[in-house]
Symmetry: none
Subunit: 299 residues, 2 copies
């Protein structure tokens, strides 16, 4: 996932939410980026550069000073490190499978500090998309599988969910902010698995959207009301279990007449019939966020 379409500074600025002046300042002061140049001298950025800028922004939002944030963000992508002292030890490479295994191990043992440490390290080193799609989503799958095989108690599942929910909602801070299209996210009545929906929200946020999160167990009437108040570009309803969505078919078709509507989650893919006019998101949250974002741009 490296060089596809080189971005000029304006496009990078829009996608990352950082002004062009500031991007140049970060390059000059901290060597955060080393864009190639067009024949005429314009900066050309890669998608990796975009991720690095986002990582830097995140570190700043967490309270680090710009210089320190840049040092961390620079370290993240091994591709172009300006001054790499050869004897350095630290710099853990990003190993998603190891991270996931560590996460499973610590949460099973009710080891909150351990799990948080794993997440800390991941956040320092990985981009948000990578973290979500390569660690969090597989982790949730593994959790679900072990749960079905009876290898996990309710207590362990609760502990892990609450821990992860806390971290993800922490990353979600400010996701209602900005200028992009708005999306309302909710689970249908009775459905309480909202982690996948949060991941989807984060991925969508990362593509410039604004998120209004209603979360689990939202009555359809309330959803309609919120949609009227907010007038979102997209409504997403997510369910892990098919039986939470099935009773809503007619209401969903009705909703789809006035709003762009999507249903998501395992419950959406196992539905017998898809309500007319409703987008069905069956893939993993990050991929689907990518797709939805593209659709909205062209549509």
């Amino acid at each position: 996932m490296s060089e596809d379409a080189p971005l000029r500074i304006g496009e990078l600025s829009r996608r990352a939410g950082v002004s062009p002046e500031l991007l140049r300042a970060w390059e000059r002061r901290y060597d955060l980026l080393q864009p190639t140049r067009s024949p005429g001298g314009l900066r050309l950025y890669s998608l990796d550069d975009l991720e690095r800028v986002r990582l830097m922004s995140r570190h700043i939002a967490e309270g680090l000073a710009a210089r320190e944030a840049a040092a961390l963000a620079r370290r993240a992508s091994p591709s172009a490190e300006p001054t790499t002292p050869p004897g350095r030890v630290s710099t853990t490479p990003f190993d998603p499978e190891l991270a996931r295994a560590e996460l499973v191990r610590t949460t099973e043992a009710f080891d909150e500090p351990g799990a948080q440490a794993v997440l800390d390290e991941l956040l320092a080193v990985a981009t948000l998309d990578a973290l979500l799609s390569q660690v969090v989503v597989p982790y949730l799958h593994e959790l679900g599988e072990r749960w079905e095989r009876g290898e996990l108690s309710v207590a362990q599942e609760h502990f892990a969910s609450n821990l992860l929910r806390g971290r993800l909602l922490g990353l979600a801070r400010g996701w209602g902010n900005g200028e992009g299209p708005r999306a309302i996210l909710a689970c249908p009545p009775g459905e309480r698995h909202d982690l996948g929906l949060i991941v989807f929200g984060l991925a969508l946020r990362n593509r410039g959207w604004r998120i209004d999160f209603l979360g689990s167990d939202t009555p359809t009437a309330s959803l309609v009301e919120a949609a009227r108040a907010i007038q979102p570009a997209l409504l997403v309803i997510s369910a892990a279990a098919q039986e939470h969505l099935a009773p809503l078919q007619s209401r969903l078709e009705e909703l789809a007449r006035t709003h762009r509507l999507a249903i998501a989650g395992a419950g959406a893919s196992s539905l017998d019939s898809t309500p007319a006019g409703v987008l069905v998101l069956t893939g993993d949250p990050v991929t689907e966020a990518q797709r939805v974002s593209g659709l909205a741009r062209t549509g």
Copy 2:
């Protein structure tokens, strides 16, 4: 494991709840910290330094003289610590009623950035205890009242809950860490109001406890299992509705024979009969955390 994220003095101050002046004084007088310096001469602290400052604060809160506290804190490097902010960090006046009103206004309007900004300001100005007891708890009450009067839609309530839950769980990061007595926190089956329980957990954590949070809708069997695995000093079960607790009476009495057990929340205070040997926490979460913490110390 020791993630290196160099903090400047302001950030260290915010995270530790100790003013920058005092941090410099402690360095000068007791050599508590030996921060590296940036090229420009700014102090750069590590996360270990943060732990050391917290440890020092804790020793002072326990009555030690600053010099003794420093000597102890200097010696110990790993583990440690609750957060006991001894003073304010800023000079902006703290107006809890205004803050609560702002919070109500912004969350009702689905204004996520606005609400987050209010919380940001509060966190910069108030101690955790003050924030919880003077803003969050009254806010939750107001939410409940408006809800009963039908002035709030489910969507608004969900939106507000999710936003607040995210922030509180963010503050909860690392609450399983350290050396203090452990408490398991859970809601009984069917009960999904966990915000009060999170507040209680934060207040207890602020008094040196370690928290294991299972959250809403936890089957009693799982609770028992977790209690066996963790061997906590206290088990807390919280419910907003009395009918979620009532069916458990006999199981609770049984649990109380092997563990110190407390029930909390509005549902606990409206129970017809209190199970034998069970502590009943009917006051606000912060006050009750104070009480429980004292009990455990003397008992």
